[in-house]
């Protein structure tokens, strides 16, 4: 497939190069259409969110009220903090104008006059790259007042995060822009009704919004034929862990996981067997290496296998990996990142971490396995936002699919995980 999000064009981040390769033509085309025609095109294309939830993007856009006296907002979510996820950074660096063009088209479609691109604070270098691209786009008249002489105006700003995974959750992200702590909000009301400063707001992931320009250029029918019919389009798959060529690879949705590991990422070092993979960032349920045959990178296939596409951040673990150590590290992360609002998550994530550390010290007990499951079950579904679920799923899936690993640890404690992981 021809690469659309990250094509091999030198200096594409420069506005001249981007324009020379057809850049901002989709915006010109879009502003010649009726706004609802633009939304309809995105809706029919079948584009689904690339931030983790796979929600249909066009449908989300239709939730925005048409008749309102309030200003409307777009937030482009570039908080990208899910462990194993590093794809949006590629767009910031290599194709920032594609994201800016998609942002503008989305604003036109929904009648939005202000957009904030929220980028995690650690990406200081990439924030400057996006700001440079944005300044160039302003200068050429693609952003700001009276865009391309159409009378349509939109301001686009970059908002820098400050180190909080939770701000990738859409309502926490809005609170963070408002200058609050990154606490998720209770839903409903949903952002389209009551978002930034109580106004209608849509939040889309960076990669999602970057799909919009070529949907407008080539039409929904063309787009819907790329990859899996129910979850179409190109997708950026970030492969990390035990592979020879870790990296971000663009491919049509629906590629077999084993093909991604072996063809794109060069296979496992030393030709070792695959013990497990985490398919879509650390929150997605872990899959056994021996269940990967026929499992593909699309929403339906992953669901059938008992996991999720998530952010398509694929972490590969070879046969020698200490999975208890991996799970303990994941649980430490969610404990650290819990915002502290909901008791099940605030307390439960800490308990998970402590009990898993007990296993690492060789002090794990048989009944601890069931206790871990019980705690995870009591976090899942009982919190304001999905961070609780994200903390529970890795534990539940690990116990379900690798119970033997825990039991081996009870019978024969091993060396501390830190030593072994090294």
């Amino acid at each position: 497939m021809e690469k659309l999000l990250l094509p091999d064009i030198k200096d594409l981040h420069k506005i001249d190069v981007y324009e020379a390769n057809g850049g901002y033509k989709a915006l010109r085309k879009a502003v010649g259409m009726k706004p609802e025609e633009v939304t309809d095109e995105v809706k029919k294309s079948g584009l689904r969110g690339r931030g983790g939830a796979c929600f249909p993007t066009g449908l989300k856009w239709t939730f925005m009220p048409k008749q309102t006296t309030k200003p409307k907002y777009l937030c482009v979510n570039g908080d990208e903090s899910e462990p194993g996820t590093f794809k949006d950074r590629q767009i910031f660096e290599f194709n920032p104008h594609l994201m800016i063009e998609g942002t503008l088209i989305a604003c036109y479609a929904m009648g939005i006059t202000t957009a904030y691109i929220y980028i995690r604070g650690e990406y200081g270098k990439w924030i400057r790259m996006v700001e440079k691209a944005l300044a160039d786009a302003y200068q050429r008249g693609y952003v700001g007042k009276n865009i391309l002489g159409t009378g349509f105006s939109t301001e686009v700003y970059v908002h820098k995060g400050a180190g909080a995974y939770i701000c990738g959750e859409e309502s926490a992200l809005m609170n963070s822009i408002e200058g609050e702590r990154g606490y998720p909000r209770v839903k409903p009301p949903f952002p389209a009704q009551y978002g930034l400063w109580g106004c209608p707001t849509t939040i889309n992931n960076v990669e999602t919004i970057s799909n919009v320009p070529f949907i407008i250029t080539n039409g929904w029918e063309w787009y819907s034929k790329i990859g899996s019919p129910k979850h179409p389009g190109p997708i950026l798959v970030g492969v990390s862990g035990h592979v020879n060529k870790p990296g971000v690879y663009e491919m049509p949705t629906g590629a077999p996981v084993l093909e991604i590991i072996h063809k794109y990422a060069g296979g496992v070092p030393g030709n070792k067997g695959i013990k497990a993979v985490i398919p879509g960032g650390s929150s997605t349920p872990i899959l056994r290496g021996d269940q990967l045959e026929g499992v593909c990178m699309d929403a339906d296939s992953m669901k059938a296998a008992g996991s999720a596409v998530g952010t398509a951040g694929l972490i590969v673990m070879d046969e020698e990996t200490d999975l208890i150590a991996v799970l303990a590290r994941i649980s430490k992360f969610y404990h650290h990142e819990s915002c502290g609002q909901c008791t099940p998550c605030r307390e439960g994530t800490g308990w998970l971490e402590k009990i898993l550390n007990r296993f690492l010290r060789g002090e794990g007990r048989q009944e601890d396995v069931d206790m871990l499951m019980d705690i995870a079950n009591n976090i899942e579904g009982n919190t304001i936002c999905a961070l609780g679920d994200a903390a529970a799923w890795p534990v539940q899936s690990m116990i379900r699919r690798f119970r033997d690993e825990f039991e081996k640890r009870v019978r024969a404690p091993q060396v501390p995980a830190e030593e072994e992981a090294a």
Binding site: P71, E80, S81, E82, P83, G84, T85, F86, D88, R89, R120, G121, E122, Y123, G124, K125, E155, Y157, H159, K160, G161, A162, G163, A164, Y165, S176, I177, E178, G179, E180, R181, G182, W197, G238, V239, S240, G241, H242, P246, G247, V248, I278, S282, G313, I315, M317, T321, A325, V326, R329, I330, F333, H336, E337, C339, E418, E419, A421, A422
Partner: protein, 156 residues
């Protein structure tokens, strides 16, 4: 007190948001860049500047891990130890740095030159193991390449 340049930046930022409270994060960033850390005095100043209660500023500063109330060493080495880096040897990298610098995670050398911290995923998993020194990412690290990074900084 903010530099004239930063005061100008604050005025520009006011144009970006319909409510002043939204300036809290961007202005705290300006403060940290100018002063190196965010002291109680700085928080009081920001509170006054933005007409936001001090308690609110304190709440924000303590919530976000990148805002720091104490200055770090001249070079702040942040090593990612999350899953992708752990699978590719971040524990060995941390041990190496601790030995080499003679400090533990979370500590600063006596000469104030180096601070060593553990961080959560930095979004550079294909370059694991990695660390950041300030805003600069160093990826695919071995003990040898890490030593070279330290030697480069030592020269500056």
């Amino acid at each position: 007190m903010f530099s004239p340049e930063n005061l100008k930046r604050v005025e520009e930022l006011r144009q970006r948001y319909p409510h002043t409270q939204a300036l809290v994060l961007p202005v705290l960033w300006l403060a940290q860049e100018q002063f190196g850390s965010i002291s109680t005095e700085t928080m009081k100043y920001v509170a006054q500047l933005l007409k936001v209660p001090f308690s609110h500023i304190l709440g924000v500063v303590t919530f976000y891990t990148m805002f720091r109330q104490k200055a770090t060493g001249k070079y702040h080495i942040e090593v990612c130890t999350n899953v992708s880096c752990m699978l590719r040897g971040s524990a060995a990298l941390v041990r190496h740095l601790e030995t080499k610098l003679g400090i533990k995670l979370g500590e600063t050398t006596a000469d104030g030159k180096w601070t060593l911290s553990e961080v959560e995923c930095m979004g550079a998993c294909s370059g694991a193991p990695m660390c950041a020194v300030g805003e600069e990412y160093h990826e695919n690290l071995t003990t040898e390449t890490m030593d070279r990074v330290l030697a480069e900084l030592e020269k500056q």
